[in-house]
């Protein structure tokens, strides 16, 4: 494999604490090393910004739910489908792009890893088929557990060991990465036409509360010592007044310490916090609760969060939070898709237009930015759009421009039709903070890598780490103050190295790289009880045979298995 030396760039690397100093980066055999020989190819990064490849901590980019969105929204693709010259295939779709476009666009933005945020275990094969077809970027997927019948039954009696054994079994069957929990209990209640809007609402039939599910899953996750923590989409998403439920849920992690060998410090990752930080009692007196929520997050060191920034676009909402999608359909009357996944989970999809002329949507935009701007520790707060729920990930450069330039976000804020209402309902106008390039590297590189337990190889530019490097046409000494210029600079990397290979050059995809699928193989003590329960449930309830359930290796031929030993003496 060829050698490279990236010369004269302004390097931003939180792993080594480098804040824009000029430093040469040497690359050999897919890794960053201290020195290369004189024959190495020189990449001139003068007046450019050099960072590690970015990591996406939460996006819906592969699987049955995303694909259902694609086929039921042909109109999303019709006006945004093109073939660029070169080796790329046709790129279709705006909020629900094809797998090919997903890979290309992430690479053009400087990303080298993406986490599929919700994998229904029963349909894991479909998730892996799409992950396999997504070029360039490494990916992993989080199976959903928060409404799984096994989990509900075990945690009702607080059987953490059995829960952990079942999680380990599912991760191996589905080639999953960690523990995702969506609207704990609420999605199961949806099968009865109900929901769980606080963490103390009992789940019908199972007689367990969301609080018990959340706490139990955190404990099981730490029992196993998985690379990533429990990843939570909380109850009561998107409703005024939900910030109290949000803080109540976060409190459940108090006193629990991270147990793992991956350098991860948090025990709970709370996703798309924007949707969970609302005050008020209805959409009329709706206010931002970002300050209250972030005050708590800032104090509590064992939490990480991501933002879920609304980008003010037409998009497609999709989540395993079935009841919420029905609620959304009732608000906008657009087409609604709903599916139940047997014993495991459910999903819903509704197209959504975040119209900037609407005071509520404009306020949601403000709340998302507030979350990031209130974050005291950028290593624990990551930027997402919960793609595609709050907006497509292709809008990250615009989100960065709002966060990095007070002028840019104030222009947007004051040009809203109902600007006065938005300004009085949120605190954004009072915030002067501008995220720096170093903080951006923390929020998009080092932070998410640590949170996902991948900090050994990802998120930094130290010797020995993966040669995943993004070089942007940004001179930090002359950082643009103009929003569109910031956006342009982040939208197309000058270079993207993936495992030491140039995959994007001048915004153009030139190599498909060697993408890998990451999954976690956790070894646990033999558990006869759990194996018996699995056999019984398959015989009695599942529509498939137990032998047809696992994802065969052929579905993830380029797999990278992270081994975890959770056997106890």
């Amino acid at each position: 494999m060829s050698e490279f030396i990236i010369k004269n760039g302004h390097v931003f690397d939180p792993v080594q604490g480098i804040k824009g100093d000029k430093k040469d980066i040497a690359v050999k055999d897919g890794k960053i090393i201290d020195k290369v020989g004189s024959g190495a190819k020189v990449i001139d990064a003068k007046d450019k910004t050099v960072m590690a490849g970015a990591l996406e901590v939460h996006a819906h980019v592969a699987g049955p739910k995303v694909n259902a969105g694609r086929w039921y929204r042909p109109e999303d693709k019709h006006f945004d489908s093109h073939k660029k010259p070169g080796i790329t295939r046709i790129e279709g779709g705006k909020s629900i792009p094809t797998v090919f476009k997903t890979g290309y666009e992430y690479a053009r933005l400087g990303f080298t890893f993406a986490m599929e945020a919700a994998m229904p275990p029963l349909y894991a094969r479909h998730v892996h088929e799409e992950i396999h077809d997504t070029p360039i970027i490494d990916e992993a997927a989080l199976p959903v557990f928060g409404n799984n019948w096994f989990i509900l039954e075990y945690l009702k009696n607080h059987e953490v060991e059995n829960t952990a054994a079942y999680i380990a079994w599912i991760l191996r069957q589905t080639k999953g990465y960690g523990v995702k929990c969506v609207n704990p209990g609420g999605t199961e209640a949806w099968a009865w036409g109900l929901n769980c809007l606080t963490i103390h609402d009992p789940v019908p039939y199972f007689e367990i509360t969301p609080a018990e599910i959340i706490k139990g899953l955190i404990e099981a996750n730490e029992y196993l010592g998985l690379p990533h923590s429990m990843h939570l989409h909380q109850n009561d998403l998107g409703n005024p007044g939900n910030y109290k439920t949000t803080i109540d849920s976060l409190r459940l992690a108090e006193g629990i310490k991270a147990t793992n060998n991956f350098g991860r410090e948090q025990v709970l990752h709370s996703t798309h916090l924007q949707f969970h930080s609302y005050k008020g009692t209805n959409w009329g007196d709706f206010e931002s609760g970002a300050k209250e929520v972030m005050d708590y997050v800032n104090k509590q060191k064992n939490l990480t969060i991501d933002t879920g920034n609304v980008t003010l676009d037409e998009t497609t909402t999709m989540t395993a939070d079935g009841p919420f999608e029905h609620h959304l359909h009732g608000l906008n009357h657009l087409k609604w898709f709903n599916v139940d996944v047997e014993l495991e989970t459910a999903a819903g999809i509704v197209p959504f237009i975040y119209d900037p002329n609407n005071a509520v949507f404009a306020s949601q935009w403000a709340v998302g930015l507030e979350i990031a701007l209130y974050a005291k520790d950028p290593m624990r707060c990551f930027i997402t759009t919960d793609h595609p729920n709050a907006g497509p990930f292709t809008r990250y450069p615009r989100v960065y421009s709002w966060l990095m330039s007070k002028k840019c976000r104030d222009e947007r804020l004051h040009s809203f039709k109902k600007a006065d209402k938005v300004i009085s309902a949120t605190n954004l106008a009072t915030l002067d903070r501008e995220i720096t390039l170093y903080e951006l590297a923390q929020m998009t590189r080092a932070g998410p890598a640590k949170c996902l337990g991948l900090s050994k190889d990802y998120g930094g530019l130290a010797a020995g780490m993966n040669a995943d490097i993004a070089i942007y046409n940004i001179n930090p000494d002359k950082f643009p103050s103009d929003g569109p210029e910031i956006e342009k600079a982040f939208a197309n990397v000058a270079y993207l190295f993936k495992d030491g290979k140039i995959c994007v050059e001048g915004g153009k995809v030139v190599d498909m790289g060697h993408k890998q699928t990451f999954w976690v193989d956790a070894k646990v003590n033999e558990n006869k009880q759990v194996m018996h329960d699995i056999r019984e449930k398959f015989l009695r309830y599942y529509s498939v045979n137990e032998n047809n359930y696992p994802v065969p290796e052929s579905y993830a031929p380029h797999q990278h298995i992270i081994g975890v030993d959770a056997t106890k003496a």
Binding site: Y72, P74, E75, L334
Partner: protein, 266 residues
Amino acid sequence: MNTVTLTVKKQPELYLECENVNPDAFAGKKADDIAKLGAYQGKEMSTVGDYFTITGEAGATAADTKIIVNGDCTKMKYLGAKMTAGEMIVNSACDMYTGSWMKGGKLTINGDVHSFCGLALAGGEFTINGNAGNYLGAAYRGDWRGMSGGVLRVKGNAGSDVASFMTGGEMIIGGDVDIHLGTHMEGGKIILKGNANRRVGGQLVKGEIYVFGKINVMMPGYKPVGEVDLEVDGTKATFVEYIGDLGERHPKRKGEVVYGKLFMKK
């Protein structure tokens, strides 16, 4: 107003996507520049000049440009699509998406058009001096935003699913239509001079449909409320007025429920 004349010189092997054949794309261009405009055939990009002989030159703006297309266009899609001003006359039958997403200007087709023409028409005048296929003036597949303005006139018959999701504008059909006329309508006006097959105004929330001929099978969600004398597109007659679709949600104005209306000529 300057006139550009296009004459088909070669038939595409597949179908030619003429997204760049409209007054907006031509504006400010001479024949040579127009010839260089792109046109997809399948995934291969070719040019307008590969398939048409071009004479004349366009005006400075779309509004100053008139386009005349001669020759067989039955394998040409998107003619006049997305035009905002100016005038265009096609002396042939055309394929899909003709006049779709039009915002203004005048488009006349002297022949038949295939399905999915005049989709989501927002303004201007679109006249078809022939028959139209299915989904005339409807929303794009999957979309919920149909025809919202302008005037769409068909001399002959149209197919099924005409004017789905219409929210505004006016559509006049000289002949007959098949099933599903004005499904999901939330505004606008349809005048049908001939007969309709079944399911006229299904799930209609708001808007008006005038039928001069017969409806083969009436929707059960419509209720007769009386008779009215009207002048519709130059014809004076007595119409039986129905309200509906009673199975749908309906908006309220000043405390009164606003129903969609269906008028059947006596």
